[in-house]
Symmetry: C2
Subunit: 347 residues, 2 copies
């Protein structure tokens, strides 16, 4: 059993990525029950919603699972920029006979601005908590560790890895450019080194003391074996789990992921206000206007998607997917995990 | 011995990337003599220069080596665009008390426009010929194969892999986004899927019949083992060989590669007119003007670098490097190859 398995209390060093909007208690529990580490993304949840998700998961599994938090710099509202963005999107709303919303909201709080969420975690004590977009303050990290919770931090560069090591997390999730969903980059306004999984994992393994969990482009046992060959202690797979019946992905998303479109992922900030990789659609590319802060921009994209999808149009959906998308399989999570383990052992 | 080794007549499935400006007969011969496949980039050479490079290599090794050609769409000269670009660069030349050149030249021909180069290859019959930026016409491929030459094509996507398979090359070099130097993308004006090495190799292995050679971010035996775990038949390493004493890299380039700057590679088209990854400098980023065609733009960057470096300034150098750059080692090529093989066997 690997040291990461001991650290996290799991049988196989395979983590199901948190994926807000896709992860469910059913998915997380199925993965954890099969010996991996299931995850729930609660970055867009209130503490009350997070509590319910945790309790639902506990009702389905007595195994360790992971709760993921968004640690972005809290949004800065800017009515002028937000109005301009909505005006910019007006023609797209008009295609569906709709108007853009009057104004945009910060649809969820950063963990950094949500001490009630910290209280919930300290009360619920999930086995594992992971951070995306940055790190919480030192005293929060210390409190979570003192509560016996194992901490993971997503990093995309050596510099971010050093910050995560300094604050005292237990392991690093090395997110390569292949990964679907939001880039974990701490400060995207300062650029993105955009490092591929293979290079990032190997550099971090060579330069860091902490266990490195490889994420991005891993879809099968061969991918897992490659990550382990690089010195990774484990792997995190997201896109590989989207087609599981336990995921919350809707029919259009599943269909898109199974189509030729799976070859055409791209990164855009236009949907949420932060860079994220998904199946390219009409919201990708340079839309030529300044974006509201994350996640204020997301409110606009969600409104546009709502009016479009109500008329059967999915051209504005957030269908996150990584560059391994053409290899996604449609299997129940337990079967997928068993297949990954079998492939890894035979590879 | 792997099937790729049999195909190419080598002992270890490790290819030294061609790297115009870095590769030398000494480097290629040392790699080939050590059981890998040395490469010479002749994309910027005339047939007479290429002949000399081949003859020099043959004088140093009786082992197979690889000759790499640039198969880009021949440059389209555009005096207006070129003058505008030179005017745009004028303030940079002025920093060194210099004027930009009066006009720019197509400093080397595409292989596609150079039938004399085809004649040379058919006469010299190197063991292996590889293509970058695209593919030659079917009858050229057929002629090279009929001459007993093994053919490799660099591809960056499934679509390019299908084109290479259709024309009948013997193996694919899957160039992930980590790779240093010029992106092999056939038509960069139509976009770049920018796929990481891990995802690209695994997708191509699953979807193609040809052997896949992994390139991008591989720096040591662990990286090679990872590529083989993904199903690659072999690997191609470029940045790993830049610090070899046999390479043509100058002192400033070597120093930069050994510095913290190795963590900050980026892709720019500003230097040559086509996207290439290197150590970021003042020519990277959006310079805000339309570029001349490749390689006409390169003439401008080389002129600027010449006046700057003459005054000890290396802020405009083409110092190509991949995302594994922080792991580059300074070893003679034969020792590096032996180290790679030893690490692979023990990994």
């Amino acid at each position: 059993m690997s040291s990461l398995c001991v650290l996290l209390g799991i049988r196989h060093p395979i983590i199901q990525a948190p994926m807000v909007g896709v992860s469910t208690p059913q998915l997380a529990a199925a993965v954890s029950n099969a010996g991996g580490l299931g995850s729930l993304g609660v970055g867009a949840s209130t503490p009350a919603q997070a509590r319910e998700l945790i309790e639902q998961t506990r009702a389905l599994s007595d195994k360790p699972f992971n709760i993921n938090l968004f640690c972005h710099r809290p949004a800065h509202a800017d009515a002028t920029r937000e109005s301009a963005w909505l005006e910019h999107l007006r023609p797209l709303f008009a295609e569906f006979g709709a108007e853009p919303p009057q104004q945009l909201r910060e649809i969820y709080l950063s963990f950094l601005a949500d001490p009630a969420m910290l209280e919930l975690l300290l009360e619920q004590r999930p086995a594992v908590v992971s951070f995306h977009f940055g790190l919480p303050p030192q005293d929060w990290v210390d409190a979570l560790k003192a509560a016996g919770i194992r901490l993971l931090a997503c990093v995309t560069s050596s510099a971010e890895a050093r910050l995560a090591e300094a604050v005292g997390v237990d392991a690093l999730v090395a997110q390569g450019i292949e990964a679907g969903g939001h880039r974990g980059v701490f400060e995207p306004e300062r650029g993105d080194a955009a490092i591929g999984t293979l290079a990032l994992v190997r550099v971090l393994v060579r330069q860091c003391r902490l266990p490195v969990i490889a994420a991005g482009g891993i879809m099968d046992g061969a991918g897992i074996k490659a990550a382990l060959a690089l010195g990774a202690a484990g792997v995190q797979l997201g896109t590989a789990f989207v087609l599981c019946p336990e995921s919350a992905a809707n029919a259009a998303y599943r269909e898109a992921l199974k189509s030729e479109r799976a070859h055409a992922t791209a990164i855009t900030s236009n949907i949420s206000g932060r860079p994220a990789r998904g199946l390219s659609n009409r919201l990708y590319g340079d839309l030529g206007a300044a974006l509201p802060d994350y996640p204020i921009a997301y409110d606009a994209a969600k409104a546009l998607h709502a009016v479009a999808s109500a008329q059967g149009c999915h051209d504005f959906a957030a269908q996150w997917a990584g560059q391994g998308a053409p290899l996604a399989r449609e299997l129940p999570a337990a079967e997928l995990l068993a297949a990954l383990v079998a492939e890894l052992e035979q590879a």
